[in-house]
Symmetry: C2
Subunit: 461 residues, 2 copies
């Protein structure tokens, strides 16, 4: 029997999960994780909540500590940066402090993640990355820096009104800072949900902070090497404004970290991510890739999409770990991109492409939308919930669903399950959902949204 | 064009919904509803919550009032009991006060509901049904009687530990009564969930009231024609106990009310309910039936099952109303029996047959069960949730799911959607569920229950 020597580059959710499942699959495999940071596997998605203090310390985010890796006989090398891979010799060369470390493998898993995208803002870069008072938020060290700076700050500016930008903005509002968000697109959460859904969230968000949509940051002013102002520009009128800010957080998206993948000849896709298949294999034999450094097919559009969701990363990690260790694990043929968050107690969730993505791919579809209550009208305490669905104009097949309000995430999971199995909106409106007065209405908002969509489709015929 | 003359017998959820959708489908149809009771369409499922006072008055339960029927030009005849149907002449003969009413139809919808089953308890029957202080709970008048009697009561006994028995017991506990439940089977909710799930609920219920499982009520003692004691007997030991009780509620199930259906030759199934197809048609041409008087096929076992859930009743009502009025509406080929309730803040939900039902039909299956938190471990405020699934031993197809705890109902809806489309447990464990720290974990309990089940299946191969 072949001896499995598995090297995993990157100890985040993707790499860590790969290691864990390689071990579960094969008790005798040799498993090594190289991680350039100082921390074992932790939850990146939890970082905003360490800023708000909901999670009392960044230490809580560590999901598997060094003890755990030791117990599982997985070699975890922290503070170790892989510099190059000799793919012919199957050797990884890394730097640890000033020492060079060499290790050989017969299976390699790339879990190199992504790097924050820094927009071209004048003066933003100092000699060691971004200047003092400016941060990205991808690592525990980023969060520590923000928490520290926040204590002496009164105002904060966030660049980017995506999920992470909004989560971070809320955290800073909760800490008493005056917060504004600068967003280049005309609305918040433009890549997450449709306009009508994002406007419901915007209404809530606007109660707590100022959002400058259609604006870009052009310049920062500093004093003693510390940020003082950010200059923002209206993209339509070109009008400029100077906003005093003690802290600036850049949440403008990421680019996949693929330099090692490129070096060993893994094919990159049109998004710039490493191409992987449903077994998390790259185009190079024996080399797997998982997480934010990869792209995968969107189940609905068929187009490649960059992976940027912890839920998908973990599932890829399971596949890569099992397969690299001699087991067999196949992912669905595409991603649903099921996603959620909560802003000022408003839960939002979605699955599948947004309307504008579908339009970009020339998919003809019809929408249905329903705003109702989480409970029957006669039962007190119901909370508002809006569900929106989109279905293919020809076949009626469900393409996407979005929700905001009470239990939006689990309601969207119902759609995720349906979309994965190719259910039509006409079937969905007939689905028996759980009903009891203190729990849910006889016809759930998720049923009624499908009913509206199904009716519209029938009228079109 | 044929003139539609639709008569609906029964104005509950099934009949009312039929009328509503007949009208939606056909603005010119003649629609008449005969209802023997005094109230227009109301929610039977809401009745226990009028006893607890959560719903302040029974009037709140009326979902469509007489005004609404008038506005929709639906003839609603309350306090009108249909005595016979002349099916050859297409005429219904009813009694209203002392008058005889005759009406002709070319489409008939039977929505005659069910009657509570009264167990053979000595002295239970008085001259007008059950004796004073004893009640069933199917109508507004029942609830009014209970509310009235409750005011001068200190103790209550419930016969039957199904959903309605437990909901009513909780209501009476909330009103300060000393409550006990007498259940003939060895456990509570035996027809709703498996033993391990019901035991979680039992643990909570037992904090608030006494449950006598394996017991039957054999006799009631009365004084001045009012109940004083109930005698219960242990089915194993035959030991008897006398329990003082001011109020006795019988929640021991129902039998379908099918006398009119029989009279006109509608075929009844083996459960005693009226056989209907996926268009809610009976075996008699032009005659539909909906709700608790019908039986329909269980999607998993293929066996007929009595309909006793509001959610299914309403869906059948939609089908019957649309089809009777010249439209077309087809229900899924079988029922999933998706069900839920909440007891002392513990949400419980299930879809598909229970394990014991599957065993009765000789289905070979494997279970998976997971107890976890509604949120990631590192995020505060997570609540416990248990999910259990069953999958076919051969094919891995999902057969049922049950849950108790946080958002059990919507999690079970995810399974309902999957089961309707024949998803396997191996696919379910790969389903991308919505993840964000304040909303749900990366691998939801619903995913992990499927994972456990999938693993077990694989080990069996």
């Amino acid at each position: 029997m072949e001896a499995y020597k598995i090297i995993i580059i990157g100890g985040g959710a993707g790499g860590g999960t790969s290691a864990q499942f390689a071990r579960k699959t094969n008790r005798r495999a040799d498993v090594t994780v190289f991680e350039k940071g100082l921390y074992p596997q932790y939850s990146k998605c939890g970082l905003p909540y360490t800023i708000s203090g909901v999670i009392p310390s960044v230490d809580h985010l560590i999901e598997f500590n060094e003890e755990w890796f030791k117990k599982e006989k997985i070699n975890l090398l922290l503070d170790t940066t892989v510099e190059r891979i000799n793919i012919d010799e199957h050797v990884v060369i890394a730097k640890r402090n000033k020492d060079e470390v060499e290790a050989s493998f017969n299976r390699l898993i790339l879990a190199t993640g992504a790097e924050p995208f820094i927009p071209p803002i004048k003066n933003i870069m100092g000699k060691d990355g971004v200047i003092n008072g400016a941060y990205t938020l991808r690592t525990i060290d980023d969060a520590k820096g923000i928490i520290n700076t926040m204590k002496k700050s009164r105002s904060a500016t966030i660049i980017g009104a995506g999920l992470i930008g909004l989560e971070t903005a809320e955290a800073l509002v909760k800490k008493g800072l005056k917060v504004c968000i600068v967003e280049a697109l005309p609305r918040i959460l433009a890549n997450t949900v449709d306009e009508d859904i994002s406007s419901v969230i915007a209404e809530e968000v606007n109660k707590h902070l100022r959002v400058y949509t259609n604006h870009i940051a052009t310049e920062v002013n500093k004093e003693d090497d510390t940020i003082k102002h950010v200059v923002i520009k209206n993209k339509e009128t070109n009008e400029e404004q100077v906003i005093p800010t003690d802290i600036l957080i850049i949440a403008a998206g990421c680019k996949p970290e693929v330099s090692l993948a490129k070096q060993i000849g893994c094919r990159l896709g049109e998004t710039g991510g490493i191409m992987v298949n449903e077994r998390s294999e790259t185009t190079v034999d024996g080399v797997y890739a998982v997480g934010d450094c990869t792209e995968y097919k969107d189940l609905i559009t068929g187009a490649p999409i960059l992976i940027g969701l912890g839920s998908i990363v973990v599932r890829q990690g399971i596949a890569a770990g099992v397969n690299a260790a001699g087991g067999s694990y196949t992912l669905p043929a595409g991603v649903l991109y099921t996603r959620t968050s909560r802003f000022f107690d408003l839960e939002v969730a979605a699955v599948g492409p947004t309307a504008s993505t579908l339009e970009r791919y020339n998919v003809s579809f019809v929408n249905g939308r329903f705003k109702g209550s989480s409970l029957p009208d006669y039962y007190p305490g119901g909370e508002p919930v809006i569900i929106k669905v989109g279905a293919d104009e020809e076949s009626g097949r469900l393409l996407y669903a979005q929700g905001v309000g009470c239990n939006a995430a689990q309601r969207i999971n119902v759609y995720a399950s349906a979309i994965l199995k190719g259910m039509s909106v006409h079937e969905m409106k007939r689905l028996e959902t759980a009903y009891a007065p203190p729990v849910a209405p006889t016809l759930d908002p998720l049923t009624l949204a499908s009913d509206v969509c199904s009716m519209k489709l029938k009228r079109k015929r």
